[in-house]
């Protein structure tokens, strides 16, 4: 088994790159899967569409979810995740530019595990990503695997 996957749901290529750079800077070596919109994220997670053939046993240890996404919004993605048994316990960290109260409330209501606002200052951003990696990839204990792959298989 390889390193756990980080699923980054982000439509902005700059933010994607910066996130990648920040992770690299923080020596987070996990495989980074990027979905560029909500649909792609869901397709990937549920092995549908273009990802129908991927190994369903590969599930992320964390999902970094932007909210403002093309096609399907981040909150809708979250909602679908939480509504699906296989994905409902997946740690989801909302990583977004928005600090709108409604987004915060809605995010937590839908079962987000954390909410991080992306700072403009890259130093701060890097710092945030570092802490995020330490926390979620190192410290945080994931829920036990319910061997979905066996089922799927």
């Amino acid at each position: 088994m390889s390193t756990p996957i980080i699923l980054l749901v982000e439509d902005n290529r700059d933010d994607e790159e910066l996130t990648r750079l920040a992770l690299k800077e923080c020596n987070v070596a996990n495989e980074l899967v990027v979905a560029r919109d909500g649909k792609e994220a869901l397709d990937w997670l549920f092995c549908e569409g273009q990802y129908a053939d991927r190994d369903p046993c590969r599930i992320p240890c964390i999902i970094l979810l932007d909210l403002k996404l093309p096609k399907i919004s981040g909150l809708e993605v979250l909602e679908r995740l939480r509504a699906t048994p296989r994905t409902r316990r997946l740690p989801v960290v909302i990583l977004t530019s928005s600090r709108e109260e409604q987004d915060l409330l809605r995010g937590y209501d839908l079962g987000a595990n954390s909410y991080i606002r992306k700072p403009v200052d890259f130093d701060q951003f890097t710092n945030a990503v570092r802490q995020l990696g330490v926390y979620w990839m190192v410290l945080n204990e994931l829920p036990p695997k319910d061997t979905p792959c066996a089922h799927d298989a």
Partner: protein, 839 residues
């Protein structure tokens, strides 16, 4: 004898007359002879007679001489005698009846007593005294004929005298009269007779009899009336003293007898006595008054007694009646509760009843004086006397109220009244008066007056109250903005105000007393009558016709939309209902306008809502999308600096750093802008806030952020406010944060927060001694992103005070600042009433 040739017939007649006369004298001549023969006969006869006469004259002359002496004597007597004397001859007619006479001789006294002169001698008496009564001629003629003397008294018209005449015949055919003028005696006599007659009559009328006792002749005479008084027929018998005594009442007889005999014996002039007599004819008892005067001779013996008897029965009876009447009057007067008095026409009081003595305690001397003074209150005396004098002077009723003294010494009010009693001629003969105790009446009257006065006052007060109430009511009615109609239970209009007149165009008189339906459009009238009847059964204050459009019908037929409220009230006249009628034309229009505006507003709100949503979407996208590029700019710049530093010179690196600073600043500006917009949109939750504690918290945080700074902080305790705690915290964070920031350059930094009262409102203030500001820019302080200091001096975006102002405004308060450059600043704010905002 003269002849009248022209009147032969008359002459002839005269001749024949002579012949007849001669025949009477014994000379026989036929009077029927022819005139010539008759004349001859007559002449012969006359001549024969003449001859005879001559012989007789010669014989007589002798006797005459003797007589002459005697006659001279008698003539002197005749001439000088005081009695009138005349010698006359009678003239007879052919039948020998005396028809005339003439005087032949009269004396001086004759002339004196008859007023005739001697010229009358020889003239027929009918010429002298043309009116002579025939009785004179007859009497004298008779004497001249018969020779029988007569004496008589008779009246002569011509001389208007009475004469007492003695007549005799000195010789045949002649007469002599001796008389005197008795006119005066005659008049006296007649007067006397008349007087006696009157006396008699008077005695009859007066029942006054007279009597005379002639003692010398021992003869008693009674006048007729005496007989009558005694019940006898006048002169029935000769009066005697015994007869007199017999008629006297047995009980009085001795006294009367004694009176008479005593007066005679004791030499008195007379006596007077009243006694009773018993009438002989009827047995009736009469009262008489007897008066007697004695005439005495020189020796004192009574010659004659003259007396009178006056029947005084009527007077006696009248006196008795009067006495009884008087006694009754006195009893009555004494029995009366009033003081009773009588007075003479001159005002002298001659009688008071017993009451006065008992009442006023008048002593006999005072009473006898019959004066006002002692019994009247001194203050009333003058008015009383004046009133009495006026009554006496005018004969009008005397009336006055005055105080009369009581025996006990006090005074009581009396009403004194006096009325005059007049005789048949209208002359006042007496005053009758009373004085009635009216003290109690007066007291009662005064009490009544006081009562009346107080009652009147109460009535006046009540009236004033009522008038005021009425005025208030009318004022209320008239000042009411609505038209008011008051109707009675049967729907008849009893009152309206002027607003209604204006509203309807009717005059009050047009509608008062009419059914209220006249003010209602015709199509609604029948149903209104029903509704009205229904209302009257359960009257209460309520609007009329809820949910219906009501209309008032005006005089000109116009219909005005109205709102009507009904208020019943009960009056003594019954149930009345007041309808307050409001013209809602303007309101209707306003409502329509409001509806229109509301529609417009709703559209605006919808638009605004759309705009808001857009704005929200905008700020959402700002939040997401504007910051992302900045992060890219900053991030990649940082990576360039970090990864490619060696490939860049210092200038390039400096520029990249500047790019990063600018990007980061823009990020902050965006955040602040979003904050500001979020403040405006955030829902407020007002609650009591402990402002002092909040301020202390904020300052503690500031202190924690910069623990190296020494700042003196003074926070007034127990400051509170009602508001949204989170928002108020933001206010304090900004204001205290500013104070903290702008005192950064001072070693003796000082921040003070407290409150003061201004116009009943709590004003919070935060004062520092920091950099301050120029008051010229005070109004710009609260503009978003407005900064008064450079970023180098003091950091910040200039959004803080704009947020403060927005929060304070949302709290209904206001915020303002005072300050001067380098001398610190003071920020004031109030937290007003919480403004409820639409969501």
């Amino acid at each position: 004898m003269a002849t009248f040739p022209d009147d032969a017939a008359a002459l002839t007649a005269r001749l024949r007359e002579c012949a007849r006369q001669l025949a009477d004298m014994g000379v026989a001549i036929d009077p029927e002879l022819p005139p010539d023969a008759l004349l001859v006969r007559l002449r012969e006869a006359v001549l024969a007679d003449l001859t005879r006469c001559r012989e007789q004259v010669a014989a007589a002359r002798r006797a005459e001489d003797a007589l002459r002496a005697s006659e001279a004597r008698y003539r002197a007597l005749f001439t000088n005698m005081t009695e009138a004397f005349a010698l006359g001859e009678a003239i007879f007619d052919a039948a020998g009846r005396p028809v005339n006479f003439r005087f032949m001789e009269i004396n001086d006294a004759f002339c004196g007593q008859t007023g005739l002169t001697r010229d009358v001698v020889g003239m027929p008496i009918t010429e002298v005294l043309p009116q002579v009564e025939s009785s004179w001629v007859e009497r004298y003629g008779t004497v001249a004929l018969t020779g029988e003397p007569v004496r008589f008294t008779d009246y002569n018209r011509d001389t208007d005298r009475y004469y007492d005449v003695y007549c005799y015949r000195p010789e045949p055919g002649k007469f002599a009269i001796l008389f005197r003028d008795v006119t005066r005696e005659r008049h006296i006599e007649e007067a006397l007779r008349e007087s006696e007659k009157r006396l008699k009559r008077a005695q009859e009328i007066a029942h006054l009899g007279s009597w005379e006792l002639d003692l010398a002749a021992n003869r008693l005479t009674w006048s007729d009336e005496v007989y009558r008084i005694f019940g006898l027929r006048p002169q029935e018998f000769s009066a005697t003293y015994e007869a007199f005594l017999a008629r006297i009442h047995p009980d009085d007889r001795a006294a009367v007898d004694a009176a008479y005999t005593d007066s005679v014996r004791e030499g008195l002039d007379g006596y007077e006595i009243e006694h009773r007599v018993v009438r002989k004819d009827t047995g009736e008892i009469r009262y008489v008054q007897e008066k007697c005067r004695h005439e005495r001779a020189a020796d004192g013996s009574v010659i004659r007694s003259l007396g009178m008897v006056l029947d005084i029965t009527e007077r006696k009876q009248a006196e008795e009646a009067l006495r009884e009447s008087e006694a009754r009057f006195r009893q009555l007067a004494d029995a009366m509760p009033q003081l009773v008095w009588t007075a003479e026409p001159d005002g002298r009081v001659d009688y008071y009843n017993q009451r006065r003595q008992e009442y006023a305690g008048i002593t006999p001397t005072e009473r006898d004086s019959y004066e006002w003074g002692p019994v009247l209150h001194p203050d009333d005396l003058e008015a009383t006397v004046e009133a009495w004098q006026r009554a006496l002077a005018t004969g009008e009723t005397y009336q006055i109220e005055h105080r009369v003294r009581m025996a006990s010494g006090g005074y009581r009010w009396h009403l004194s009244r006096g009325v005059p009693v007049r005789n048949a001629k209208g002359r006042i003969v007496k005053w009758y008066g009373t004085a009635t105790d009216i003290e109690d009446v007066k007291t009662a009257q005064q009490e009544l007056e006081q009562l009346t006065a107080s009652l009147e006052q109460r009535v006046q007060e009540r009236t004033a109250q009522l008038q005021a109430a009425l005025a208030r009511f009318e004022g209320l009615l008239e000042s009411a903005p609505d038209g008011i109609v008051i109707v009675d239970a049967s729907g008849v209009i009893t009152l309206v105000n002027s607003q209604l007149e204006r509203l309807t165009g009717y005059q009050r008189d047009d509608i008062l007393g009419k059914p209220v339906e006249m003010l209602i459009p015709e199509r609604f009238r029948p149903v209104h009558v029903q509704h009205r009847a229904g209302y009257m059964t359960a009257p209460r204050t309520r609007p009329m016709g809820v949910g219906l459009d009501l209309y008032l019908r005006c005089k000109d037929g116009r219909e005005v939309p109205v709102e009507i409220s009904l208020s019943p009230f009960t009056t003594p006249e019954g149930l009345l209902v007041m309808a307050s009628i409001r013209d809602i034309t303007a309101r209707k229009q306003a409502e329509e306008e409001i509806t229109r505006l509301n529609t417009a507003l709703r559209r605006n709100v919808e638009q605004l809502s759309v705009t808001n949503k857009e704005l929200e979407a905008f700020s959402y996208s700002v939040s997401h999308d504007l910051r992302a590029p900045l992060r890219g700019i900053d991030g990649f710049s940082k990576i360039l600096l970090a990864e490619y530093s060696g490939q860049l010179d210092e200038t390039a690196r400096d520029y990249l750093r500047r790019v990063r600073v600018a990007a980061q600043r823009m990020g902050r500006l965006i955040d602040d802008m979003l904050n500001l917009s979020r403040i405006g949109r955030r829902e407020m939750q007002p609650a009591p806030v402990d402002v002092s504690a909040l301020a202390a918290e904020v300052l503690a945080e500031l202190r924690q952020a910069e623990p190296e700074r020494a700042v003196t902080v003074i926070i007034a305790p127990e400051m509170t406010a009602v508001g949204d705690a989170n928002l108020l915290r933001i206010v304090l964070e900004n204001l205290l944060g500013n104070a903290w920031k702008f005192t950064g350059g001072r070693a003796d930094a000082r921040i003070e927060m407290g409150t003061l009262e201004e116009a009943g409102q709590t004003v919070y203030y935060i004062r520092d001694n920091g950099a301050g500001f120029d008051m010229a820019f005070a109004d710009k302080l609260f503009t978003p992103f407005q900064r008064l200091h450079s970023e180098e001096e003091f950091s910040g975006t200039g959004i803080g005070l704009a947020i403060v102002q927005r929060i304070i405004a949302r709290h209904g308060g206001r915020v303002w600042a005072e300050g001067a450059e380098g001398k610190g600043a003071t920020f004031y704010f109030t937290v007003g009433e919480m403004v409820e905002e639409a969501a």
